[in-house]
């Protein structure tokens, strides 16, 4: 059942990109299309290998490019770079701690869109960047900061439920143990 977790994270990423194009009311209220992909990248980088990170960022990055005015391929770069850095440094990060997950989600929620805008600008794409971008990044950062620990909690529970656990020790095992010694 080890394939369930990678498949579900890919499906959730696919749905997350689709929902970015919907939820008109949330978009109007927040002033930005709400994306939880950065939080998912953090989760994916901490719990899966780099191959899975590449696949996940391809699905979400290229999917977002296809559903927007961006050039196909640019949207893959920043999530992959973020996922790569987190994946290769995960032994140095307090990934089990909720507050660390919050700050990592917040950081990625700000850094990934900012990096994407910089790449678009470098590619002469003229993205709509202005004073309101600061507000949009702050909203995305806070949403991903809140979403990241929630994803860890939900997926860890899901994994425990779906994956094989260790063989439980029989209560008779103790009785069968051979007593050694002179006593």
């Amino acid at each position: 059942m080890n394939w369930i977790s990678p498949v579900t994270i890919l499906v959730v990423g696919w749905l997350a990109v689709f929902l970015q194009t919907q939820l008109e009311v949330v978009r109007s209220a927040a002033g930005v299309p709400v994306s939880v992909v950065p939080a998912l990248v953090v989760y994916c980088a901490f719990t899966h290998g780099l191959g899975m990170v590449a696949m996940f960022t391809a699905v979400t990055g290229l999917g977002a490019d296809a559903m927007s005015g961006s050039r196909l391929g640019l949207g893959w770069v920043t999530p992959f770079v973020a996922g790569f850095v987190l994946n290769t440094r995960r032994h140095l990060l307090l990934r089990e701690q909720r507050y660390a997950q919050f700050w990592l989600g917040l950081g990625c929620g700000i850094a990934m869109p900012l990096g994407h805008a910089a790449l678009l600008h470098a590619a002469h794409g003229e993205p709509a960047v202005g004073w309101e971008t600061a507000w949009q990044l702050m909203v995305l950062g806070l949403i991903n900061g809140a979403a990241c620990p929630a994803f860890f909690k939900a997926w860890d529970g899901f994994r425990r439920m779906m994956e094989y656990g260790p063989e439980p020790t029989s209560f008779q095992a103790g009785q069968r143990e051979m007593k050694r010694g002179r006593g």
């Binding site: 696919w14 749905l15 990109v17 689709f18 970015q20 194009t21 919907q22 008109e24 978009r27 109007s28 002033g31 930005v32 299309p33 994306s35 290998g49 780099l50 191959g51 590449a54 391809a58 290229l62 999917g63 977002a64 490019d65 296809a66 559903m67 927007s68 005015g69 961006s70 050039r71 196909l72 391929g73 640019l74 949207g75 893959w76 770069v77 992959f80 790569f84 290769t88 869109p113 994407h116 805008a117 678009l120 590619a123 794409g125 003229e126 993205p127 709509a128 960047v129 202005g130 309101e132 971008t133 507000w135 949009q136």
Partner: protein, 267 residues
């Protein structure tokens, strides 16, 4: 040091990104639409859910409301038929006179209804997705409007869906004129995505006559949008610092935040 497996993944991703970014524009556009195809099941599900909710809401309406609505629509239909007949006569006369003057006859447009099924996935562009594609006769640069005003133009065309670049997007500048003063100007691309209902217009020269409340229409220059389409209303106008032109904020006629159905103008 990177592990060997990590290096392989990084190199593969890097090569694929470089390949995607260096594709010829036509191939990249087709590939983009093909990648967007992975969302078609969800778009279909969304449309099905929408129609179920719509049908259920109609079922719940009382018969008396439906009958009164039917009568109102019949009357409106009759009035529109008369107006259409008068309009057709005026168009025919206009074409005849233009022909006599030797000018090029203005093209006629057939409006085609389309439903908005998605918005731009990122915050950097003003685009939306409509369920009107090549199978319905969609083509790049066809104007998209609502009864309230201009929405944008078709940017890319897929088999069943098309991307529309909305007014103010980097790929949808519009040549405009102020109806009351006949001053020409432009609504440039790359405008804010926070409030998509407002765009910035600049005139080609200092025009103190442009005031709040003046109507802004398409000027027909550029060849994409027909002349005379409603764009919006001037909110406020001020001279530029250089004094060479006037800047004005324009409230768009079409509510781009609440687009549901739009009309594509097919030639």
């Amino acid at each position: 040091m990177l592990k060997r497996a990590h290096s392989i993944v990084v190199v593969v991703v890097g090569l694929l990104v470089l390949l995607l970014l260096n594709l010829p524009p036509g191939v990249a556009s087709r590939l983009k639409l093909a990648v967007g195809g992975v969302f078609l099941p969800l778009l279909g599900l969304r449309s099905a859910a929408h129609s179920v909710v719509e049908t259920a809401s109609y079922e719940m309406l009382p018969r008396s409301t439906l009958v009164s609505e039917l009568r109102r629509l019949e009357q409106e239909n009759a009035a529109l038929r008369v107006e259409s007949a008068l309009g057709a006569e005026a168009i025919a006369e206009n074409q005849r006179l233009r022909g006599q003057l030797g000018s090029v006859p203005r093209g006629t447009w057939r409006p085609r209804l389309a439903r908005v099924v998605g918005r731009d996935a990122t915050t950097w562009w003003r685009t939306c997705l409509i369920d009107y594609g090549a199978r319905d006769g969609a083509a790049v640069n066809q104007p998209v409007v609502t009864a309230q005003g201009l929405v944008g133009r078709i940017a890319t065309v897929g088999h069943s869906h098309s991307h529309v670049a909305l007014v103010g997007d980097a790929s949808c500048g519009v040549a405009v004129l102020v109806s009351e003063t006949r001053d020409h100007g432009i609504v440039a691309g790359g405008q804010s995505t926070t409030d998509v209902g407002v765009v910035e217009m600049t005139t080609f020269q200092q025009t103190p006559g442009v005031l709040a409340g003046h109507a802004v229409l398409t000027s027909g220059e550029g060849g994409i949008f027909p002349k005379g389409l409603m764009v919006g209303t001037v909110m406020d106008a001020r001279p530029a610092r250089s004094g060479l032109y006037t800047s004005a904020r324009v409230r768009l006629g079409a509510n781009l935040n609440r687009l549901e159905e739009v009309w594509v103008l097919a030639p």
